[in-house]
Structure formats: C-alpha cells, structure tokens
Amino acid sequence: MTATTQPTAEPTADRQPLLRADDLTMTFGGITAVKDFSFHIEPGEIVGLIGPNGAGKTTCFNMLTGFYAPSNGRVRFKGQDITNRKPHAIARLGLVRSFQKTNVMKRLTVFENVLTGHYMASRQSLLATFFPGEAVRRAEREARESAAAIVETMGLAQRMNAPAHLLSCGELRLLEVAVALAAKPSLLMLDEPAAGLNSHEAGTFGAVLKTLIGRSIDALLIVEHNMDLVMSVSDRIVVLNFGRKLAEGRPAEIIENRQVAEAYLGKAAA
C-alpha cells in the first residue's frame, strides 16, 4: 500500500499544521516521562507514534488531550493554544481520543454507547431539554441515524443492541473507536486500538481506518504496537524512546533506522 498524502517533514510557514506540540515535557516527581518532545500533524495525515513500553506515548496522549497538564511546552490545535485546557473543552474543538485500557460505558448497549458519543452535536439549552421543539426532535433523529451508521461502519451491526460488557475484546476496541467517531472529531487519536485483535482483524481494522481520512476525520494519530498495522496505515511515523524523540520519517525509513531497531531489540553484538 502506498501513502496517498506526501509526508511533510516540517510545517511550512504559510500552511498551519492541524496540531503542533512544542517542547512537551512531563515530570512526575523526580521522573521525567517525556522530555522536550516536539511534533506536528498535517491535515489529511495518518501519523503513527511508536516506541518501546514506557517510552511516554500514553503520557504524550494525555498531555495533548488535557488529561495531564504538561510541566513545560505548548500544544496548538487549529492555531489555538490548548495547553492546560480541560479535556472536555479540547474535545469540543474537535480533538477526540480513545484510551489504552479499554474504556466504554459497560452497562449501556453498543448503540447507546455510540449515541452518547453524539453529545456535542446534540447539545441544547436547558429550556429545550425540558420543552423540546421540532429542532430538538430532528437533532435526536439525526443522532440516532448517525449512530446506527457508525456502528455499521465499524462492523458491529450484529451487536447493535448487545450490552457492552458482553462484547469480546476485539469488539470492545472497535466500539471504542465508534464512540470516538460519534463525537465527529477533526483529529482522532487512538491509543493502541488494535491490542487484542488477531492479525486478520487488525488488517480489516487498518483498511477501515484509511477510509476514514477525508470522510469522517481530517487526520489520525495512532499509537500502536502492531507493526504491520502501523507501518501499513501511517504516512509518517514518530518514534519515542525514554521520553525523547528518537526518529521521525516515512515507514520505510523507520524500518531501516538502526537506532530504532536498537531501541526495540538492543544493540547487535559487535
């Protein structure tokens, strides 16, 4: 598979990146989880963020989405400084994430989960909540139709009315992506979405992800340990190791990179 978008190494002056992080640093007490990490995401791109366990990938996710306040550095999204904003405020700008440890609303059905995901599109005044008019009913209908369509896109149509706690591990990952998509993000950030999928499921999942760009979302940032998946979908890959950026480039360049191989596998015997 060839990438459809040409990866750009640096943001150009005239065109603003969708997301831009500068010198992100996160310390927990004496431990520095992420240090001076800078990167950007252009519209239309799928960026893979990889690195060995404990490299700081999830910490990075939490800083970008407001769940952690970075110790240092700035995050800009769509030209706005979003550093230190609350998670829900960042989500409302169109930056929506999934979680590494599967996070869905277990007691609700698949459909209800995805319908709840439409929260931002269906927000209404308190008055309209108690005395709904035609506009509210239409928004509700549209949300329900859209929820059903998203469940279908993610291949969960058969499980539409099953409570989430009855889903298999793989189905839960798909549901999580479905809930995130329901929030109609501009930039979708997935934290290990393929964990628990077998290689066939992961292949299908990768194909679904690629169809989303331009249709449902503007750009995608994906943290993933499944190398086949991340190499096949990503336009550009950023490698983190011990909280610092180790390498950045096209998948083919990263595969060739000696330092990356060493970070994952250790130094070759001399």
Binding site: T65, F67, K86, P87, H88, A89, A91, R92, V96, R97, S98, F99, N103, V104, M105, K106, R107, L108, E112, L115, T116, G117, H118, Y119, M120, S122, R123, Q124, L126, T129, F130, F131, P132, V136, A139, E140, A143, V179, A180, A182, A183
Partner: protein, 323 residues
C-alpha cells in the same frame, strides 16, 4: 423508553381517579404521603441514579423548601400556588450553591460533605430563633390555594401533590431521555470517556443536582402546607434514610423505580406499625437484602427477567429449527 413513559402516564391517570373512588381519610393520607415521597425519591434518584454520586444531604433541599413555604405563608400570607413554586426555586438556588462546592468531590468525600451541609442547615434552623422560631418550629402554615380559597379536605391535598408528582416525573423524564441525561449517564459510567466526547462532568452533574434540589424543594413546600407545621426535624436523617430505602428498593437509575419504592415503603411502614420499634430493624434488614441480592432494585430485577424471557423464545425457535 416508551414503555416507561406509558407506565408513568397510566400511574398518574389511575392516581387521579383515587380521590373519587376512595373516601377513607386514612387511606387518602397514606396516598398523599406516598406521592410526597415519590417526588422526593425521584429527585434523589436524579443524583444517585443518573450522576452516580450518593448524596446524603438531600434533606437540605426538602427542609429549605419547607421553611421557605412556611415563612412566606406565615409572614406574608401567600397562598400555595405562590409558595410551593418559590420553595422549589429557593431550593434550586441552594442546590446551585451546595453543588458548586460538593460536586467537585467524588465518592465518599461527596457523601460526607453533602451530609454535613444538611446537618449545618439543621443547626441553623434550630438556633436562628428570630427567623425559624428555633426548636418550636413554625406552626399554623396556611392552607389556602388561591387567595382565600382554602384546601379543606384530604382529596384536595391529594390532587395538589399529584400535580407536583406529575411535574416532577415530567421534568425527570425529559432530563433522563435528553442529550443532557445521556451525558449524566456517561459521567456515571465512565468519567474519562465522558470527558473525551466533550462532556463537562461538573456542569452535567450540576444540572441534575439543581433539578433534584428544585423538585425536593417543591415537595418540601407541599409538606409545610399539608402538615401545617415545620420544625428543624425536616433536616433530620430520618427523611434521608426513607428516601434512600425507596430509591434502592425500587431501583436507582430508572424512573419507575423510586415511584414504586415510595409506594411500597409507605404502605410497609404503616403495616409494620404494629411491631413498633422492630420496624426500623426490619427496614435495615430489607436494605441489606436488597444491596446483597437485588443491587439494581426491583426494576433491575424485572428488567433482568424480561431479558431472560426475551432470550428464551429465540432459543426455543432455534431448537425447533434443528428438529
């Protein structure tokens, strides 16, 4: 959702016929108390069942509403159609102030701090003698509905509390099945997911909390006029315990649950009068049994049975096909 709505409508319609069918004052009194508790339990359920935080301070709003109505009636001579809605509004303002502090906390911290707010209000009511008349309470709360038109019999009070219950159920129904209600459930089920889809947990919880305070205030206002007396005991934990039993027994997180719980507990309390002091012990045992065996209350139990019933026919159908 439609089923729940139809059951609620049928309940209200059936209840509206009661005063015409029953003239026994004692039974009407029980029915009035059952509906009064139904409003209280429904309002508590908005916080416990939909936001998922356990408030032990809900009597703060009941008492605020009761004192508001009693003061407006005894001091300014206002009729019920003014005092009861104002009682709800004043309670809602208190709800906003208390919520602004307590809703920043979760779990056991929230429980303790809400409890202490109710306790503080009780102490204020007990000691601010110039306004509340202290432990003596406010007696002789008027019973006029409009101007000089007084409510003289139990049937009249029954229709008033039925109207309040209808308002409470309407507001709860609209809230629960709206986008805002789904957001509250999202916060209850998973705070992280809620935030990642743009839900502000604090703001959402606040809406449910203030709505619950408003409805509890209406109930308190009604209580003041019906009993015609308000003392500091409206803030006491006994009301809170009764509300909790009703919500837990009926099933939290459903609209019918608190209603069913209120009716059952009110009737049970009367039946168990014979055993006197043993009554509270029995209620304690009932609560323990519910928590252990029916954690989702009666409604949760019924929903489970329905699911099992629904699953059976498909199994049978599958068997028939193989034969």
């Amino acid at each position: 959702m439609t089923l729940e709505r139809n059951i609620l409508l049928a309940f209200l319609a059936g209840a509206a016929l009661l005063p015409f069918a029953v003239t026994d004052q004692y039974i009407l009194h029980l029915a009035i108390m059952a509906l009064f508790y139904a409003v209280l339990a429904s309002s508590l359920n908005l916080v416990v069942g939909y936001v998922g935080e356990f408030s032990l301070g809900h009597t703060a709003f009941l008492g605020t509403g009761a004192y508001t109505a009693a003061l407006l009636s005894t001091q300014a001579g206002m009729p019920m159609w003014v005092t009861i809605p104002l009682a709800g509004l004043v309670s809602a303002v208190f709800g906003f102030a208390i919520g602004a502090i307590t809703l920043r906390l979760q779990g056991p911290y929230f429980v303790i701090v809400t409890l202490s707010f109710a306790e503080v209000l009780r102490i204020v009511a007990n000691n601010w003698i110039a306004v509340t008349n202290g432990p003596m309470g406010l007696a002789g709360v008027g019973q006029n509905l409009f101007g000089d038109v007084a409510v003289t019999d139990k049937a009249g009070f029954f229709l008033i509390v039925l109207g309040i219950a209808a308002v409470a159920l309407y507001f709860s129904y609209r809230f629960v099945y709206s986008n805002a209600g789904r957001a509250a459930v999202a916060v209850r089920e998973n705070r992280y997911v809620a935030q990642s889809i743009g839900v502000d947990p604090f703001g959402t919880a606040m809406q449910a909390f203030v709505l619950g305070a408003f409805l509890a205030g209406l109930a308190g206002g009604f209580y003041a006029h019906y009993i015609s007396f308000v003392g500091p005991e409206v803030f006491r934990f006994a009301f809170m315990a009764t509300m909790i039993i009703m919500v837990l027994l009926g099933g939290k997180g459903t609209l019918i649950g608190p209603l069913a719980g209120a009716v059952i507990v009110t009737v049970l309390e009367e039946y168990l009068r014979e055993v006197q002091e043993l009554r509270l012990t029995l209620f304690g045992l009932i609560v323990m049994a519910i928590v252990l065996f029916l954690p989702n209350g009666l409604m949760g139990f019924i929903a489970l049975r329905r699911e099992q019933q629904a699953a059976k026919p498909t199994l049978n159908a599958a068997k028939e096909r193989t034969v």
